[in-house]
């Protein structure tokens, strides 16, 4: 087990390095001058040159990469060009809002998606199944900017039940601000979870042990809740774990639409302004989040299902 974890950690570092290096090359290929993005169209040649020297931008591709990777090795992600603020401090500020949004979305996906999937599986071919199918189709095909805009218009602007935008002051206010973005982020996930639960449950319900349980005369509630559902939820744990990793990277469109101060919005602003250290820092954190989530999911699977340990 410990060997497996160590191997995983090693791979994680390799993956993070690879992703960040690829991002560096892509960003460097953008024909936009970060110094000019920083100082604006009025900047004189002298001022631009001073900025380039300050940020190693005068050194060519290899020099810049060396400059950056050398700092990362010392645990310093550098400072954002635009705000002259430590990238680690910016990420520390932004990761908690993103985490709240991710957790909110996962909770909604489970709370809505799982019952919807159960209803569809149990009443297969009848209206709950069709209803869940319709919700699934809408949730998966509608892009988040549309879902978000509609929710915002109906529930906040017209209805006035939720604040239109922003992060809220904390406590209940934060929760009220969280609902709409989390719902938007969860829309596609709800649909997907419902479909997974439905198809797993439909398979399990056809198993012999379910027929045995029914034959014993157990109430349907117990048959589904105790016997069938437990065995159908395995893939869901994997799914939710992987989702959490992806969602921790930030949801660009939704954070932008709802003025949610998370990582997704931060990286978009950084890309627009060619803020290289910030782009690389956020990418690195996202890559690590996904790698860690993968690792935890694998470990959880080992722990839940003893058969895998000897496979």
């Amino acid at each position: 087990m410990i060997g497996a974890i160590a191997r995983r950690l090693g791979w994680m570092i390799v993956v993070a390095w690879f992703v960040v290096t690829a991002s560096f090359l892509v960003t460097a290929a953008i024909p936009a001058d970060p110094a000019r993005a920083l100082l604006g169209p009025h900047a004189t040649a002298e001022a631009l040159q001073r900025v380039r020297v300050h940020y190693c931008l005068d050194r060519g591709l290899v020099g810049q990469y060396g400059c950056w990777i050398g700092r990362v090795a010392r645990g310093d992600l550098g400072e954002s060009y635009r705000s002259q603020r430590a990238v680690t401090a910016i990420i520390a500020d932004r990761i908690w809002p993103t985490a709240q949004l991710a957790l909110g979305a996962i909770v909604l996906q489970l709370l809505i998606g799982v019952p919807l999937g159960i209803a569809a599986a149990v009443r297969r071919g009848r209206w709950p199944d069709h209803g869940a199918g319709l919700v699934g189709l809408l949730g998966q095909s509608a892009p988040p900017f549309l879902v978000g805009t509609v929710l915002l218009y109906v529930l906040a602007y017209r209805g006035g039940w939720f604040p239109i935008s922003g992060y809220g002051a904390g406590g209940w206010d934060r929760l009220a601000h969280l609902v709409l973005p989390a719902m938007t982020l969860a829309a596609a996930g709800v649909a997907y979870y419902a479909r997974v639960v439905r198809s797993e449950l439909v398979d399990v319900l056809a198993e012999d042990y379910v027929r045995t349980a029914r034959a014993k005369g157990l109430p349907e509630r117990t048959v589904i809740g105790r016997h069938a559902l437990r065995n159908a939820l395995g893939p869901l744990v994997t799914l939710a774990g992987l989702d959490l990793g992806v969602l921790l990277g930030g949801a660009v469109v939704i954070e932008l639409l709802f003025a949610w101060p998370g990582l997704g919005r931060e990286i978009l602003l950084a890309i627009v302004e060619v803020d290289l250290p910030l782009i690389l820092g956020v990418v690195m954190v996202s890559a690590i989040a996904i790698a860690v989530a993968n690792m935890l999911v694998d470990l959880a699977a080992l722990w839940i299902d003893p058969r895998l340990r000897h496979g």
Partner: protein, 551 residues
């Protein structure tokens, strides 16, 4: 039976929802409040507004973007300022000043009793420190603004520890000596980076200086949740109570434009600007909102720049032809009347603008004739670089169809702002592109010199992005910089306008106005041509309970 009931219920629910949404009874979108009717300004209250970006730093030595100024201007008083709603220079922390007859020395007498927000007195040495900090700070965007002060070049180069041209005489007198006359010097001294600073405060704050403004203005920083909101509070020690009625000013960051207007309509915001097209058209067509809509002409110019060193734009007739081909009434319509047709770089209201020059008329026959004369009877193909901004793309599409009429086929290439500004600053960059300019300070030299002087041409870092320069214009601009008599100076800039009109290094298109709408109870406010959204002298005309009075 049950299934039928369910079906009926579902249909009924959907119908009800659709009916509610499509609203047989549309909400009243007029103002929900009215002014309470106070005769004199009242103190207190919180004014809330929003921007669709975020502030990078509150360190005045570095803050350089427009939204930064929305909070920096209430935080930092400087020696002089622009008059409310205008461009006249008025005293602020300086009680009075004098310039020498040769325009090379300025002497400022500080107002007695002025203090930082903690009560410590402001002295002339604090101004010397902040000016020298701008000269020596790593990559401050303002270093060059002070380059005309005697000895400044040595400080920038690191060969002198202090600037010989900035001298202090006692606590209350500051003398600036220039090496070269600079007609925009007073305007530069109205910029927040020249506000007095304390060396010990800067040293103590360290890398937190960007969050710890040492306020000298009517407001102080109460709270900054970065990327979310900035809260300014009233500075009780401020010397002029008429500039600090509000208890608080709250600026919400990163709120998208159309969301801002929704929040405004739900009274979650007290003002909204940069209205997106449908909201703007709505406000302009609703008579009830009219009294609360404010327009400001910005210090800007928009159009297309041509690289005059690249064919076919090295031929003046081609450049003129493109100016004749553009139909400015299209732009005006597309921008819903917020665009003023341009004949050159200087916007209306700017000193030196010659109102007698009419914008190029839309004349297709003339354009074709000029193209034929220049050897392009069938027009030509050319790439047009523009930025991914809704307004700019719309205007580019309109230009494309106008130019097609005279046979010039432009192929739009859309890119980010950062890539665009890098590309057009290179001599080898695109021959034709979108162009815009917003002046740093309201002096014609802030338009002409960076854009059309030979000195501003570089291989890769040109601010002169049309690479246009003539010895005649250079000489004229240099003479205008030195000229002390305003009338003679104005005549020189009129001449410069005429030269640029004829030589047409840009396709002159329009100057942009902004529109802002406020709640009826916001009084004592109008957007400023330079600071735009400075609410320091605004006040809220609320009911006796401190709440807005419903209509």
């Amino acid at each position: 039976m049950i299934r039928r009931v369910q079906r009926v219920a579902a249909v009924a629910a959907v119908t009800a929802a659709v009916a509610w949404l499509t609203a047989c009874d549309p909400p009243d979108r007029g103002p929900r409040f009215r002014p309470a009717g106070a005769q004199a300004p009242r103190g207190g209250g919180t004014l809330r507004f929003a921007v669709n970006d975020q502030v990078r730093t509150l360190d005045p030595t570095y803050s350089y973007d427009q939204i930064g100024y929305f909070v920096l201007h209430p935080l930092f008083d400087t020696l002089v300022d622009f008059s409310p709603g205008g461009l006249e220079i008025i005293p602020r922390l300086a009680e009075r000043w004098q310039s020498s007859p040769d325009g090379l020395a300025y002497t400022f007498e500080l107002r007695p009793g002025i203090t930082f927000s903690d009560g410590a007195p402001i002295t002339a040495a604090h101004f010397k420190y902040s000016l020298e900090r701008a000269l020596t700070a790593d990559h401050s965007p303002f270093t060059e603004y002070l380059g005309d002060i005697a000895g400044a070049r040595d400080v920038i180069a690191g060969t002198a520890p202090a600037c010989a041209g900035i001298t202090v005489d006692g606590d209350r007198r500051l003398v600036l000596t220039l090496a070269r006359r600079n007609p925009g010097m007073l305007e530069i001294l109205a910029m927040p980076f020249t506000a007095p600073q304390r060396a010990d405060h800067v040293a103590r704050a360290g890398d937190q200086i960007r969050r710890r403004p040492d306020a000298t203005g009517p407001f102080v920083l109460e709270r900054w949740d970065e990327g979310e909101r900035i809260v300014l509070g009233n500075n009780p020690r401020y010397f002029d109570p008429a500039r600090a009625h509000l208890d608080q000013i709250v600026m919400l960051e990163n709120i998208p434009r159309d969301t801002q207007f929704q929040m405004f309509e739900r009274a979650e915001l007290d003002t909204a600007d940069q209205l997106a097209a449908p909201d703007y058209l709505f406000v302009m067509s609703a008579p009830a909102w009219q009294p609360y809509v404010h327009h400001t002409a910005g210090m800007n110019a928009y159009g297309s720049r041509m690289n005059v060193q690249q064919p076919p734009f090295d031929d003046r007739r081609v450049r003129q032809a493109l100016n004749y081909a553009l139909d400015k009434s299209h732009t005006a319509r597309l921008l819903h009347g917020t665009a003023i047709p341009a004949h050159g770089i200087l916007p209306p209201g700017m000193f030196g603008r010659d109102p007698a020059i009419p914008p190029y008329p839309h004349d297709v026959a003339r354009a074709r004739a000029l193209l034929a004369e220049a050897g392009y009877p069938d027009g030509f193909d050319v790439e047009y670089l523009t930025i991914n901004d809704e307004e700019t793309e719309t205007v580019a599409g309109s230009l494309q169809s106008d130019l097609a009429e005279v046979g010039v086929r432009i192929h739009l290439s859309v890119t980010s702002f950062a890539t665009w500004q890098t590309a057009i600053a290179r001599r080898s960059g695109p021959a034709l592109s979108f162009a815009s300019w917003t002046a740093d300070f309201p002096d014609p030299s802030s338009f002409f010199d960076p854009l059309f002087h030979a000195r501003s041409i570089q291989e890769v870092d040109s601010t002169n992005s049309s690479f246009y320069a003539t010895p005649e214009l250079d000489a004229l601009l240099d003479a205008a910089r030195r000229e002390l008599d305003p009338r003679a100076r104005e005549a020189m800039y009129h001449r410069a306008e005429r030269i640029l009109y004829d030589d047409a290094p840009w396709i002159w298109d329009y100057h942009r106005q902004t529109a802002e709408v406020t709640q009826p109870y916001v009084r004592g406010y109008a957007p400023h041509p330079i600071w735009l959204r400075d609410y320091s002298s605004a006040w809220l005309d609320l009911g006796p309970d401190g709440a807005p009075v419903p209509r």
